[in-house]
């Protein structure tokens, strides 16, 4: 799950107060993705935008299709901003008839793209008006009930392009556990959990018992398609569609590598500095995050309507106050912002989204695969996370494609995220990439 937006409302971290939101650095905003898009978040929560002007026909078209419409010399030019470039798809007369023509042309391009992706990656996509599942609605007493049926829509060209970019570098994580098919991507027209704002969810079993990914309403609106586009648009821009797809496909990889047992999950979690803790009252398994000095932190809440907070813990996981005395409630415990915890962590999370080891791992995997620049950032920022993600990735490749009789993997992942045959040249390329970064780090 990529639930970035939620935490703008639910984390008590100091930087999540309104004032802090507007004073955050561009780097913080970028890393947090949608999180700090306060007006947009309000729009989502309340269902209306403040001071929203009626959209022009061209703007409506842009929103629907994820392409830019530029006017020049009496013509509309339909531009897909992808891979750091402007790709002109078609042009029409700058009038209603032109828009109508463009609708038909883009629908054709979309159908072709879907057919390509289904053929190459075995994935599939939701259709307009398709039933998904009934919405969950939480009541004031914290109980839940089912609401209305959520309808799906089909993806637009921008979404297909972002997912396509991710699929080429996330292979084979798009496949279901038995490898017979790929995940199904759904685009929801209502939030799956009402009032609970997320970007996307990985689904272990959809209505047809298939592994799937849900994109929440509005998750991709105005987003850069790829990480290159995010860079081009400035660091203050949002999570790209490509990045969200990578993150969710990492969750699919976790499912395929059997993270469903505590034993397997903890094996990976411990590599990232997370320890299991059993709440003595509820017997829920929670997670403790280890700091550089072996101190422990826990993200918890007292009540379902409360914000989650990062708190200090004793060596056995119990909450502690400023004086180091045990306390039973989150509100009485010594609290930290997520940035403080990130800085204090023994294994630094690669982004600000690290609510538990699964999410921290998915974010690391996203950076490892998405492109060479992000992989470099991961290795520079968090070498232990890099190593864990690399090991996990190779394990998945070996499980899917097998090993040579010599025991060597058949495929490895090159620094740009593409799978390559495990040759001496390919290994040397990776080694050179990693050593170059490690040398720079040592000099620092």
């Amino acid at each position: 799950m990529l639930q970035l937006s939620k935490h703008s409302f639910s984390d008590n971290s100091a930087e999540n107060t309104n004032d802090a939101k507007f004073s955050a650095t561009p780097e913080q905003l970028r890393e947090e993705g949608e999180l700090c898009g306060r007006p947009r978040a309000l729009e989502r929560k309340d269902g209306t935008a403040e001071n929203k002007q009626p959209l022009t026909e061209a703007q409506k078209f842009e929103q629907k299709h994820g392409v830019s419409v530029e006017t020049k010399d009496g013509k509309y030019f339909y531009i897909l901003k992808i891979n750091g470039q402007d790709k002109e798809l078609i042009s029409t007369d700058a009038n209603a008839k032109g828009i109508e023509k463009a609708e038909a042309e883009l629908a054709k391009l979309k159908r072709e793209k879907i057919a390509d992706l289904e053929k190459i990656f075995k994935v599939s996509f939701s259709q307009d008006g398709e039933d998904i599942l009934k919405q969950w609605v939480q009541k004031d007493d914290c109980s839940w009930g089912r609401g209305n049926m959520i309808k799906a829509r089909s993806p637009n060209l921008a979404e297909l392009s972002g997912i396509e970019a991710a699929l080429y570098r996330a292979q084979p994580s798009q496949l279901t556990m038995d490898g017979s098919q790929g995940v199904k991507f759904y685009f929801l027209t209502q939030h799956y959990y009402k009032h609970d704002v997320a970007l996307a969810y990985h689904i272990q079993q959809d209505k047809n018992n298939r592994q799937a990914i849900y994109f929440e309403p509005g998750a991709n609106e105005g987003k850069p398609i790829t990480e290159k586009d995010a860079d081009r648009m400035g660091k203050h821009q949002l999570y790209s569609i490509e990045a969200v797809a990578h993150h969710e496909l990492m969750h699919n990889a976790q499912q395929n590598l059997n993270w469903n047992t505590p034993k397997e999950k903890e094996k990976w979690a411990r590599k990232l500095g997370w320890l299991p803790y059993e709440d003595p009252n509820t017997h829920e398994t929670k997670w403790l995050f280890t700091g550089k000095k072996d101190e422990l932190y826990r993200r918890d809440q007292d009540h379902c309507k409360d914000a989650f907070s990062w708190c200090a813990c004793g060596k056995h996981g119990g909450l502690e106050n400023e004086r180091g005395s045990g306390v039973s409630r989150v509100k009485d415990a010594k609290q930290f912002t997520l940035d403080q915890v990130r800085d204090l962590a023994a294994v630094k999370p690669s982004t600000r989204y690290f609510v538990n080891p699964l999410e921290m791992f998915a974010e690391g995997g996203m950076k490892y695969r998405i492109n060479e620049k992000r992989r470099q950032e991961l290795l520079e920022d968090s070498p232990r996370l890099y190593d864990a993600v690399k090991e996990h990735d190779q394990q998945e490749l070996n499980a899917r494609y097998g090993k040579e009789p010599s025991g060597e993997p058949k495929y490895i992942r090159s620094p740009n995220g593409i799978l390559v045959k495990n040759t001496a040249e390919a290994r040397a390329e990776i080694q050179t990439f990693e050593e170059k970064i490690k040398k720079v780090e040592k000099k620092k």
């Binding site: 689904i203 079993q205 469903n260 034993k263 017997h283 996981g317």
Partner: protein, 139 residues
């Protein structure tokens, strides 16, 4: 060897019955290990120990300074063997008052009833049970 709980599955379950002969809060660690097959892998938690059986498909935990089992966890994979209910619908028929309490980021929807907690896959109203856990009801 692990016996199945067909006698329990056929009737409405009560927390004091436990599962697989293990009653969290009452069964000692030694008895639980004996009942669950004798061979297990042990790992340390922040506030206790875990004991994994069948390559992690069954786990019991024990909190510090308690000689008894604090929780029994069973993977949904074992539903095929009739050890636990395989679907949410079936589970609801066995465990009274089982209700949705939250979703978590392990792609699961969590249901609870006194002494029991289970995870079902998100995305399907009669999803497979991903795991089920039993714990002392008096807590």
């Amino acid at each position: 060897m692990i016996s199945d709980n067909t006698s329990l599955i056929s009737k409405e379950w009560r927390p004091e019955q436990g599962w697989l002969g293990v009653v969290p809060g009452h069964t000692s660690i030694k008895d639980a290990i004996d009942r669950l097959g004798g061979i297990c892998e042990t790992a340390e938690m922040a506030n206790g120990f875990s004991f994994d059986f069948r390559d992690g498909l069954i786990r019991v935990t024990s909190l510090q300074q308690q000689g008894t089992i604090s929780k029994l966890w069973i993977s949904g994979v074992l539903a095929e063997q009739g050890i636990i209910p395989g679907s949410l619908k079936y589970a609801k028929s066995m465990f009274p008052n089982l209700h949705f309490v939250r979703h978590d980021s392990t792609n699961a929807e969590i249901y609870e009833s006194p002494g029991i907690r289970l995870a079902a896959s998100t995305g399907n109203e009669d999803a497979d049970v991903m795991w089920i856990e039993f714990f002392p009801v008096e807590s």
